[in-house]
Symmetry: C2
Subunit: 406 residues, 2 copies
């Protein structure tokens, strides 16, 4: 097989760990696979370089930041190639430029535009292990760019797509994707397989294994993604196309996001364009709004409505400031803020074809006397906002109700 393996900052955080990675790589190579390894900077390095730059300026020149930050991954890739070579296997390291990764010119958060598969394919032809510095590329003018946080995962997925790899393994310090957070529900099970769409919901709902950008790209490029731990030999979780999953479970997991706050707008004057005005103002302030629920409000005949939405807790103050001008102009009667909330979500592709999944969630909450403040559903998930003191209870009860511990 042709396999792309990506090792994150913790997995290459010390020289000892880089040596362990080299051994792991050689073991896989000895099984007859061709290998491309993508590495992050040693943990702490990128932050160190950023703090260096901030010594000179709170907002350092972005094109220079990219040149600066790209050095962390270059160091790791050279060191790993040296380590593999020292153990008797041919290996070369390639920078983003060397690996043919071309991005747009949005320094510090560039998007990959094309990858020329030739440099890597010709290097692996004779069995050489190619180590690629993740997180970076060059723009059309040949200037070094970086891909933003989580960029090395993106590099790995994009390379896997470009060279037509059979598998793209993302090594972290976590075993894989679990039915829910094992710290909350010790009965949580590692999923052997999950679909791209489910993983996207899980990721955006708070599961921290993979960033949504990487899963989206894997889906787009049809890359079989595996997330597993570099600290043990356990099988990880395969993230793949729904059609490739034989037995689709009704529900794959329960996600919990405790980082949300709820803003309730009571008595909003119900005139055309008011929602667009309010959420336009929030968007202009760069506030990321998650759930939005609108219900009719007020007494019969009153021309008003209620709108609830959630934002990240650390953006709540900004959101409040943004909203108060509508109260001042009497377009909103009252504002209710609640930051003691949690969002619990049930995720599963099975619910596309099965009914009763949502009602089971509501019944389960009701049995435990947990009040649901907001509901939002998509084809493959049901999210409920509840009082955050019930969040662990809700997760455990739902986990059991959908028999995820079986």
């Amino acid at each position: 097989m042709l396999i792309v393996q990506k090792y994150g900052g913790t997995s290459v955080g010390t020289l000892e760990r880089i040596e362990k990675v080299a051994e792991r790589v050689l073991k896989t190579a000895s099984e007859g696979h061709k290998l491309v390894i993508v590495v992050s900077a040693m943990s702490g390095e990128t932050n160190k370089l950023i703090s260096y730059a901030k010594y000179f300026s709170p907002i350092p020149k972005e094109s220079e930041m990219d040149l600066l930050m790209s050095s962390g991954e270059r160091v790791t890739s050279s060191l790993l190639a040296i380590a593999i070579y020292a153990k008797g296997h041919n290996a070369i390291s390639l920078s983003g430029r060397g690996a043919g990764i071309v991005t747009d010119s949005n320094f510090t958060k560039a998007r990959i535009e094309t990858i020329d598969p030739k440099p890597i394919l010709s290097a692996i032809e004779d069995g050489t292990i190619v180590v690629v510095a993740g997180f970076q590329g060059i723009d059309e003018q040949g200037r070094v760019t970086t891909l933003g946080r989580g960029g090395s995962d993106l590099s790995a997925v994009a390379i896997a797509g470009a060279i037509g790899a059979d598998l793209c393994e993302i090594y972290t310090d976590v075993d894989g994707v679990y039915t829910t957070d094992p710290r909350i529900e010790p009965k949580a099970k590692k999923l052997p397989v999950i679909s791209y769409d489910e993983m996207l919901e899980m990721a955006s709902l708070g599961a921290k294994v993979l960033q949504t950008r990487s899963v989206e790209m894997a889906k787009k490029l049809n890359v079989n993604l595996v997330t597993r731990s570099s600290f043990n030999e356990n099988e990880g979780t395969l993230i793949t196309h729904e059609d490739k999953i034989m037995e689709k479970p009704l529900v794959s997991g329960i996600a919990l996001d405790k980082n949300q706050a709820r803003v309730g707008l009571i008595g909003v004057v119900d005139k055309p364009g008011i929602a667009s005005e309010i959420f336009g103002a929030l968007a202009e302030s760069n506030i990321n709004v998650d759930m939005i629920v609108q219900t009719s409000g007020g007494s019969l005949g009153e021309n008003i409505t209620n709108i609830d939405f959630t934002v990240n807790r650390d953006e709540l103050a900004k959101a409040e400031k943004c909203i108060y001008k509508f109260k001042n102009s009497h377009e909103i009667r009252d504002i209710q803020i609640n930051s003691n909330i949690a969002k619990v979500s049930v995720v599963g592709v099975g619910m596309k074809s099965h009914t009763g999944v949502a009602s089971k969630a509501f019944t389960t909450m009701a049995k435990e006397n947990i009040n649901i403040m907001m509901i939002s559903t998509s084809e493959i998930k049901i999210s409920m906002v509840i009082d955050d003191k019930y969040s662990e209870l809700a997760v455990r009860t739902l986990h059991s109700a959908y028999q995820l511990d079986k």
Copy 2:
């Protein structure tokens, strides 16, 4: 003027010092000069990276070493560009590749072959300050190479030559070139100007300000080189073509090299090719022989000769081993080893056109009762090997005899 400034590892050793360098650069720019800055890695960084690589292998793969080590200078160049930009002046950093520096493929000790002046010249056109990562280039295949120790000086001189700079300033922690080591003779004076050839002699004789490679390149490319300190505002020493120096002093300086050992070969069978055999054997063992003196020896009619030579003290053991086989084959009667020697040299272009410079040196030694063991002269220097306990006395007496303290 178009000026290339090079700052060494100590000058950019901390963030505070990089900020000081930025201020110095801006001051020069404000005087109306166009500037290209070449930087080394922050002091200690290159050694740190080397030690990382040696963790995996005593002799790490050389092409990977170059990728690895080149990151140190890239970091400094980005940081300095960020610092200059933060102070309100446009600045960009360029890697060796970005600056158009093409070398041969001798990884870890590559030689600069060509420099395309266009990238730098087009960048400085609008007054932008260009910061170049020293010590590195790329080979014809586009692979990153490094130039070996002292490589950043070479980068600066080669760039100055390629873009036709009026001046190439090398900033270190030393004020310039002195008539002799001020720690030995406090009356030593800083030279305002010295010729390339004198500087070459001084450098190869132990003055540590500049490496001979850089001076040789400056001479070849006709680059006006200035060595000065980044820690004060003192004028440095201009190193330039002899013809540009109006008043040529008879003697420019006294150099001392205490790192030599003397090997005396007594009673060498005087047959054709014997010297070539001996020194061929030493060369094959990679031993750098400095002075060689041959005198006729033995009694009248005996067909033997005496040969003395000096080597670096740390290569003495290797040299002895190499020589003993000639004693064993009876081609040499006896071997005398003396590692308590010092080489004192008088350097000056003036001696080309003046007589009596050498005899004054010998007279001065005689007056102090210092025995001269070996003498070797070139057009612009006289070197004498003496007992090393007299070395400081010799330096001070010669310094005064040639009136260098005046």
